[in-house]
């Protein structure tokens, strides 16, 4: 009887510890995502690979490199509440950052905050010289996928608002609604309509 009690207590303790750890890891992912944004938002198209990697390393941001960066490669970072959703405590939500390099120079940036299949907010910087916002909407007219095309030359307030992702969605137990992923969407649209 005592052994059974000991085992049950041990299992419950381990479970609680795992749940606690999942929250700690989710908050860590959130903090890393914030550090990633801090580095990436001001990064300019044309920045060298070495300079970019050095900044990310200094900020303690984990990254994965796909390809040969002196020719063409992708640098990707994911900040996801993995253990929370493995334990069914929260829907999978994460920030995925991607930086493309060609001939050693930064050529494309994509940053997406998304929740499972439900919804996402994406900011990309590439071809456009004019910043713009759009969305794909569901049948009720709610935005499901939000797109912000940010001009690489745009370093105004618009850039700040474009990257104002709601990082508290990472680790949120109820999961964010589409419009909560990028709360500044309305401001962005208003700025364009002026």
């Amino acid at each position: 009887m005592r052994w059974i009690l000991l085992i049950v207590t041990g299992v419950v303790f381990a479970l609680l510890l795992t749940i606690f750890a999942s929250f700690v890891l989710a908050y860590r992912a959130r903090a890393e995502a914030a550090r990633y944004l801090h580095v990436v938002v001001p990064l300019r198209i044309g920045t060298t690979f070495d300079a970019t990697v050095a900044q990310l390393r200094d900020a303690g941001v984990p990254t994965t490199i796909h390809g040969d960066c002196h020719h063409e490669c992708i640098l990707e970072s994911r900040f996801v509440n993995r253990w929370q959703y493995v334990l069914h405590l929260a829907p999978p939500t994460g920030l995925v950052g991607r930086i493309d390099f060609g001939n050693d120079k930064l050529v494309y940036k994509s940053t997406i905050l998304g929740r499972d299949f439900c919804c996402s907010a994406a900011v990309t910087e590439s071809t456009s010289t004019i910043s713009g916002t759009s969305a794909n909407v569901d049948s009720s007219g709610r935005p499901r996928k939000i797109f912000v095309d940010l001009s690489a030359l745009d370093f105004t307030e618009y850039r700040k608002q474009a990257y104002a992702f709601n990082l508290s969605c990472i680790g949120s137990m109820r999961g964010c609604e589409p419009e909560e992923l990028l709360p500044t969407l309305n401001d962005l649209e208003r700025a364009l309509s002026k």
Binding site: S110, N136, D138
Partner: protein, 284 residues
Amino acid sequence: MYVYIQQYNVPRGTHLHFASSGRYVLRHGRQPQYGQIRSVREYTMERARDSPQIATADGGVIGSSGITYDNQGRATGQGALPGMSSWQGFMYSVTGDPVTVRMVPPNLFLNVDPNLLNSAGGNPSGTGTTFPGKDDPWTLRLVPVTDDGADKAAYRNIDYKLYQLDGTTPPLETWYVTEHQTNVNVAPPNGMSGGIYKNEFKDLIGCNDCRGAQSYQNFTISKTSGAYDPISSYGSPTCGTTNIVVHTPVSGDYGCLGLWVSSFGNRVNNLLRWPGVPAPPPTN
């Protein structure tokens, strides 16, 4: 009856007649091959190799090319004859799923005589509807112009733009595109996702830490923004023969796309990136 004629395969000199009674006949030379002509609008087919071969139970006919026509003279599709031109102007592939794999038509088939279309004033459904606007929606093509798809990348951005039949000229009017997915998880809550960009659809494919989900995707277009509206939209909300065609520069034309959505690389028709479609280039 006015009928939209796009790409039929009939021999030079063959005449296609439409009778007010709804009957029609294909005639080569002077001898009618099928049916009886009463009141007629006549169009001469300039190229091809079709002639009626088999009468169908519903009063239609199957041409020698394999294209089937109903009793109203509408091309209704094609039998299992790969490599032949189909109703909407694309080719069925010799291999693969006939729905998901359709090949680009030769340029020859894309050279539709605009005068003929204008005089026909109709649409492929054969209802005789005159398009209220300037564009014939059925000739519009959705063309991927940028694609950042890559192996192991969690998300993929494909920017589709709507063009006229040549794949390069913008439409004369403003259209909005809606995507339709068979897997509603990919486009919750009901599989539809409407774009609000003019003559453009931004497609973001991916999810957070999912190991793969399959879906079929097709597109419809409408003059109003937002999601699909069955009254004002052109195209079927399901994969079929009346979808707005996706025209890719290298891979071909498709009415329906097969998607594999995964956080470890997203595939469209098993391709991580559309061949011949550039990644978004940097601003100089």
